[in-house]
Every structure is written in C-alpha cells, then in structure tokens.
C-alpha cells in the first residue's frame, strides 16, 4: 500500500480548507463553551445561516458579494438573539436542548421543498462563489519550480520527500483567506478574554451567582458571548460554502456541531490555540484513518469480507466517537487545556 499517498493526503488536509472550517467553528464555540460555559449545541446552525445568507443573497437575490457577507453575519446575530432570549436565563442543559432543536429547525427549513425554488431544497445551492474566486491572486496557469516548491498549472506542490502537500490555486486562495481570518479571530479573542470583559465571562463559567452578586448583568454578557461566537460560526459557514462552492442543508446537521466539540475538546477548551490545534489533529486523524483504511482495502491488506469501502466512513467516525469518549474520561482538558479550568457543572 502507498504510504506516501496516505500521509500526503492526510497532511495536505490537516492544514487545508476543510480544517479551517472546523478551526473557525471551534474558535467561536471556544468563546461560548470554553470561556463562558454556554453549552451551545447549535453551532452548525450559525454556520448554516452564514452559508445560506451568503448563498441566498448572491445566487437568488443577485446582491453583491459583500452584501451577502453582511446578510450572513446579520442572520447569525438574529439567530443568537432568538436562541439566547428564551434560554440564557435557564440552566445549561436547557440551552443545550434548545440550541440542538433550533439547529434542526434551521436545517429542516433550508431543505424544505416549500420554497425550494429559492433555497434549492435538499440539493442546496451553487453559483455564488464566483465573485470570491475572481479575487483570487493565484494564477490558474503558473508553472515554476523553486527548490522543493513547485507550481504546475496552478497546482502547488511542496515536496518534503517523505510526503508532499498539494493544493489547487482555489484551495490556496481559500487557505490564504481562512488562515488570515483565523489569525484575526485569535487576536480578537485573545484580547477579549484578557480584558475585564473576558474575566467576567470566565467568572460566569465558574460561578454565575457570584458574578451576579457583583452587579454584573450576566444575561447580557452571555448574550454577547453567544452572538460573537455565532458570528465566528457564520464565518466558518462562509469558508465552508466558498471552499466547496456550494451549500447543502444536510451538511449542517447536529453531527457537524458535535465535530466542533470533538475539535475543541481534543485541542483543549478555554485555550486560545486549542481549536486550531484540535482542528488540525482531528482532520489529520480522520484523513489518515479514512485514506489508510481505504488504501488497505484496495491493496488487499484488509480482505473485502471483513469490510468494504462504504464501511470505512462509519468505522472512522466510530473510532473518533470512541476517542472523544475516552478523551473526556481520561483527559478532559485535551492537549493544551488546564484541568482545573474544565471542572464544569450545571447543578
């Protein structure tokens, strides 16, 4: 079996466009769950309204691209208000149930056939990403070689011998924007959580009553955290939609939110770089397991009687679920986390 191919694929993906989506979504979740203790199980809905806000504005209503971004962000704030007002005064598990329900409502509304001529129903939408890729500074047909870095017909190859990284010029543009966004959000979050405002958030996570007794408006702080985290979630939705050049309602299922949680817990909640590290590791593990298993089946290392190609996906997600359970039991702080920071409780 081709180890070079498997390793290359996994490492290419580990810093590639999809990983950026998980990182951005988990950065938003980190502010909500890691720093404020809000159990938001509807992060997929924020990504969905972001992605659909952009796609609907551009593809259906013909608005300019930047208006699409504004609409997506606005929709995320509205969603945060809708979710937060009924539940932020209640205990954490109620927020969990309501956010999971809200995310499911959003997904079902987007896939409903009733207004499928606007939203595309379960097929989703495309043809909204051209304005974004028109800005692409990476030429389609450049060819050059510099040491171990080569560009061939718009395809960048970085050859490290043991493995190589390969990206199309579209990937490169998405990655440039995505990594820039990650850097910007990390700076913003870093400044926010070390400000007095951020200390109130951590106080709410540790003991809400104590913060309230200091005269802080806990509800307002929670709402702000939910909205800011949701905005970052919507940005994750933009990147996801643009990287794939389509939106599909079923990708924004509750499982999508759960993967954000795996990412966040793997990297370490309430740590600035936790989500980024977690996303890289999560997506690397997913790809190396999926590619490795599928290569092993192709090369006959695993006989088809034991498992076939369609079973690879379920098995990999089974292993990731198992990993998540074991991680939470034995190392709840993840890689970077501080154990004392994560002794959360709802009662």
């Amino acid at each position: 079996m081709d180890w070079h191919f498997v390793l290359s694929q996994a490492l290419t993906q580990a810093i590639g466009p999809t990983m950026l989506v998980y990182a951005l979504g988990a950065i938003g979740l980190n502010l909500q769950f890691g720093y404020t203790g809000l159990l938001n199980f509807g992060q997929a809905a924020f990504a969905a309204v972001g992605a659909y806000g952009l796609a609907l504005s551009v593809a259906t209503f013909g608005l300019p691209f930047w208006w699409g971004i504004v609409v997506g962000l606005g929709a995320a704030v509205v969603l945060a208000l809708l979710m937060g007002i009924p539940t932020l005064r209640l205990r954490a598990d109620y927020l969990a149930i309501v956010t999971i329900a809200a995310a499911e409502i959003v997904r079902r509304l987007f896939r409903a056939t009733v207004w499928a001529e606007h939203t595309g129903g379960s097929d989703g939408m495309r043809e909204f990403s051209d304005p974004f890729f028109n800005l692409n500074p990476f030429p389609k047909d450049a060819s050059w070689t510099f040491a171990f870095v080569s560009m061939d017909g718009g395809r960048l190859t970085v050859d490290f011998g043991l493995f190589d990284l390969q990206y199309s010029n579209r990937d490169l543009w998405v990655m440039t924007v995505g990594w820039a966004l990650i850097a910007v959000f990390l700076v913003i979050i870093g400044l926010l959580v070390h400000s007095p405002w951020g200390r109130v958030l951590k106080g709410i996570r540790e003991d809400e009553e104590a913060v309230r007794s200091l005269g802080k408006n806990v509800f307002a702080y929670k709402m702000q955290a939910l909205a800011i985290g949701g905005l970052i979630g919507a940005v994750a939705g933009f990147v996801y939609a643009l990287a794939r050049a389509n939106v599909q309602p079923d990708t924004f299922s509750t499982d999508f939110t759960f993967y954000f949680y795996i990412v966040l817990i793997l990297g370490g909640a309430a740590r600035l770089f936790g989500p980024v590290l977690g996303a890289a590791l999560f997506w690397f593990l997913y790809n190396i397991l999926a590619q490795g298993l599928s290569e092993a089946i192709n090369s006959g290392l695993i006989s088809p009687e034991v498992m076939n190609q369609t079973q690879v996906g379920p098995l990999v997600f089974f292993l990731l679920g198992l990993g998540m359970v074991l991680l939470l039991i034995f190392r709840p702080q993840g890689i970077l986390g501080n154990r004392r920071e994560l002794m959360l409780d709802v009662r």
């Binding site: 539940t87 209640l90 809200a102 089974f318 198992l322 998540m324």
Partner: protein, 458 residues
C-alpha cells in the same frame, strides 16, 4: 434509486397537501403529467401503458413508458384527472406496491405521478413512503436518497393523495398522532427518569431506540425467529444494554465526580459510537422485518388503520400505564420518585440511590428498545431513526417537565398529536419544525413544563 423515488413520493405527498399555497410558484410551461417507472432494482420499466382520463371518465390519451421508463401526457387545461396504470402490461411478477394503480390527481401545473413498483403488494395504509404520490413542478429529489429523512421518517407520513373529507383525515391523523405519541412516551419516560435521578441529559437515549430496532432485526432476519419473539428479545437486550451502560460507564463517572456537562458531551460521544457501529454493521439502508410489512388495513370508513398499529399502540399504552402504576404503588417506584425528587435526602433515608439509578437505566433501556421495535415494525430500521426521534423526545420531556415521569407521558402524547394534526395546515415535511418551535416557546413561557416545578430550572 428506488429509495430515492420513495422518498421523493413521500416528500411530495406533503407538497401536494400544501399545493393550494404554493402551486402558483411553479413554472407553467411544460404542462401535463409525467413520471418514470422503475422496478425495485432501479431499472427502468418499459412498455407499460398508462391512461389519462378526465374526471368524467373520458379517455384523453394512452401512452407507453419508453426505454428509460419515462412517460408523459401533455394536457391542455388544469382540473381533476385520473391516471391509470394498466397492470396487465407490467412485466411478470411486478405489481404496483400499494395496490392502487389508479390515481386521481388535480392538475394545476406540470405534475409528476409516481407508481411504486415491486414484486409484492404492500398494504394501502403502509407507512412512510409507500404511498404513491404526485408532485408538482420540478422534482428535486435527494440525489443519493441517503440523507433524506423527512418524508419517510417515523411512519408518520400519511401521504394520502385522494382528497378525503377533512374530518376523516383529522381522525386518521389524530389516531396516528396518538400512536406516535405513545412511541415517544416509551422513550421519553426513560430519558426523563434518568434526568430526574442523576441530572444527566442523555443525548444517547435516541440511539437506545435504534438499538432496540436493530436487535429485533438481528433476531428476525439473521436468526429467522418470528417478529414477536424478536421483539421480546430486543426489549430484554435493551434492558441489558441500559444496565451495562450504567454499570460500565455512568455509575463509574459519577463516582469519579465527572461534571454533568462533561457527561452530557460524553453521552454525545456514546451516541456517535452506537450510531456509527449500527451504520457499520447494518448499512445506511432502511431495512424491514419479514412480517407485518404488507398488512391489510382495517377500514372503518372514518378511519383506516393497520392492525399492527393498533396492537403496538395498545401494548405501548399498557406498558406506560404499568410503569405509572409501579411508580405510584410499589416500594421501588416510590424510592425512584424519592431519588428523582432529592437524591441526597433519599440516600439519607436509607434508599440505595445507586441501585435505583441502575434500575432506572435498565427500565429506560427496555422501554426505549420497545419503542424502537414498534417504530421499526411500522416503517423499518434505519441507523439514524433514534437520532431524529430524540428531538421529539426532548420536546415531549421539556413540555411535560424535565425529570417527571408523568410529565414525560403527557408531553409525549401532546407532541405526538400536535405533530400529526399540524399537517392539516402545514406541509408534512415541516411538522417536526412545528414541534421544535413548540419546544422553544415552552422554554420562553413556562420552562418548568406542564407538570414540573419551578425550582427545577434553577
């Protein structure tokens, strides 16, 4: 592809009901009826004659399906038409699965009419997706038929295409709502009692429902025992699974002092584990038991219902009543309610809290498995059936009041009936949206639910 067609038909049965609202939205150019005939292996069926006549019975056109299974009849004006498939022209062995080769359709724009073909007849009141259906406009189906879940989900889809009287339809919906409510109740009692006794919101409870359905499938299909034996075995295994979960995982986590939020996220991990293990072993297809699939329904005129629905509904009701009586009158039941009320106080009066929690997990697992088996008897087993039911269970539990067994029952019945009756006014594909919206409104106005007490929300 057959699945896709079924899902399509189910989804568009819904569209039909809401057609009055949205028919104007469809393109008016290519006007007429059309469709594609495929057998259950997704191969096109050619040479089948289909006749379209108007409401008075005058034949307008007879066409044969082409090599690729498609057929189309252009029409000049809208109105009511009858589309008849001549069963004698079908290839040997194939029949129209629901036994209804003649469909009345109301044409107001270009319309797709689908006849599900199979080698065996399925009862007319067969659940989700088995109804023939018609759809307006462009048929946007799920390309892979995999991720689609709305129409064919949970057998609640009453895709009648004849325009029945409103009262009859309401009666059918009410009864199917009660049935659905009982299924939710079976799952909800366990979820609510686990929450009441331990404080854990168990996101893996829906997958206990799937577990029951899958275990019965294993016994029924792989071991070849009758469905009723398989059902009993599945319920026992569900109880064992609940016991093992508490013994091997949850009770240990409580002893370690793991936080409830961490445990909630662990339960999500457990849910993923069960779901993907099911997908790995069973596959993504909806699978059915080998009995009661094509059951002939009883027709009372005002209500058409399959005997299996009556039987499962009555058993579920009996079980719910038994659980309720046990909670009120037996020592263990009283102890359970005491623990749910205040675990520390219960422990100080000599109640063994650990054992009560273990019992709650066992009973909860058994009831969830029973719910899974009954739902699967109606509409087959699918790996994510429990995941979708879970949100309805949450809605029921929150509506009734988290942590109360009777509240869960009341909430489940209300949600079940509400979900079904709401299809009278909204498209069936949006019925779950309505139920989830109710969940959020309850949160806003009465977060403790109907039977809950105010202090629980803390």
């Amino acid at each position: 592809m057959r699945r896709a067609v079924l899902l399509l038909s189910a989804a568009f049965a819904g569209l039909l009901l809401g057609l009055g609202v949205n028919s104007s939205a469809f393109a008016q150019d290519a006007f007429g009826v059309r469709g594609t005939l495929e057998n259950q292996q997704d191969e096109p069926v050619a040479g089948v004659s289909i006749t379209v006549s108007d409401a008075s019975g005058t034949e307008i056109a007879t066409v044969e399906s082409a090599e690729d299974g498609t057929w189309a009849v252009p029409l000049d004006a809208g109105g009511d038409y009858v589309v008849t498939l001549d069963e004698s022209t079908l290839p040997d062995g194939l029949v129209v699965r629901n036994g209804r080769p003649e469909l009345e359709v109301h044409i107001s724009s270009d319309r797709t009419v689908l006849f599900p073909l199979d080698t065996q007849v399925v009862g007319g009141a067969g659940p989700g997706g088995d109804e023939p259906s018609t759809s307006g406009g462009d048929a946007t189906g799920d390309p892979d038929g995999e991720s689609s879940d709305d129409g064919a989900e949970n057998g609640e889809n009453l895709g009648e295409i004849e325009d029945e009287g409103g009262a009859t339809r309401a009666a059918s919906l009410l009864v199917s709502g009660l049935h659905f409510g009982l299924m939710i109740a079976l799952a909800a009692v366990g979820l609510s009692m686990v929450f009441g006794t331990t404080g854990l919101t168990n996101f893996a409870h829906g997958d206990l429902v799937t577990f029951g359905g899958v275990m019965a499938l294993l016994f029924n299909i792989s071991l070849g025992v009758p469905v009723w034996v398989a059902a009993i075995a599945a319920v026992l295994l569900g109880a064992a699974f609940g016991w093992v979960q508490d013994w091997g995982l949850w009770s240990r986590l409580f002893k370690r002092g793991t936080g409830l939020v961490s445990m909630m996220i662990i339960s999500i991990g457990v849910a993923l584990l069960i779901r993907f293990a099911t997908l790995f072993f069973v596959g993504g297809e909806r699978q059915r038991y080998d009995e009661y699939v094509g059951q002939k329904p009883w027709d009372f005129g005002w209500l058409v219902i399959a005997p299996k629905e009556v039987a499962t509904g009555l058993i579920a009701l009996a079980v719910c009543v038994a659980v309720g009586l046990a909670l009120v009158f037996t020592r263990l039941g009283k102890a359970t309610r005491a623990v749910a009320d205040n675990p520390s106080l219960a422990a100080s009066t000599g109640i063994n809290v650990t054992q009560v929690v273990r019992l709650v997990w066992t009973i909860g697992g058994a009831l969830a498995a029973m719910s899974g088996v009954f739902l699967s008897i109606s509409d087959g087993v699918k790996f994510d059936m429990g995941q979708h039911l879970l949100l309805m269970v949450f809605a029921a539990v929150v509506l009734g009041g988290l942590g109360t067994a009777f509240g869960a029952f009341v909430g489940a019945m209300l949600i079940g009936v509400f979900v079904q009756l709401s299809t009278l006014v909204i498209a069936p594909e949006l019925k779950y949206v309505g139920a989830l919206a109710v969940l959020i409104i309850i949160m806003l106005t009465r977060p403790q639910g109907i039977l809950g007490r105010r202090e629980r929300i803390g």
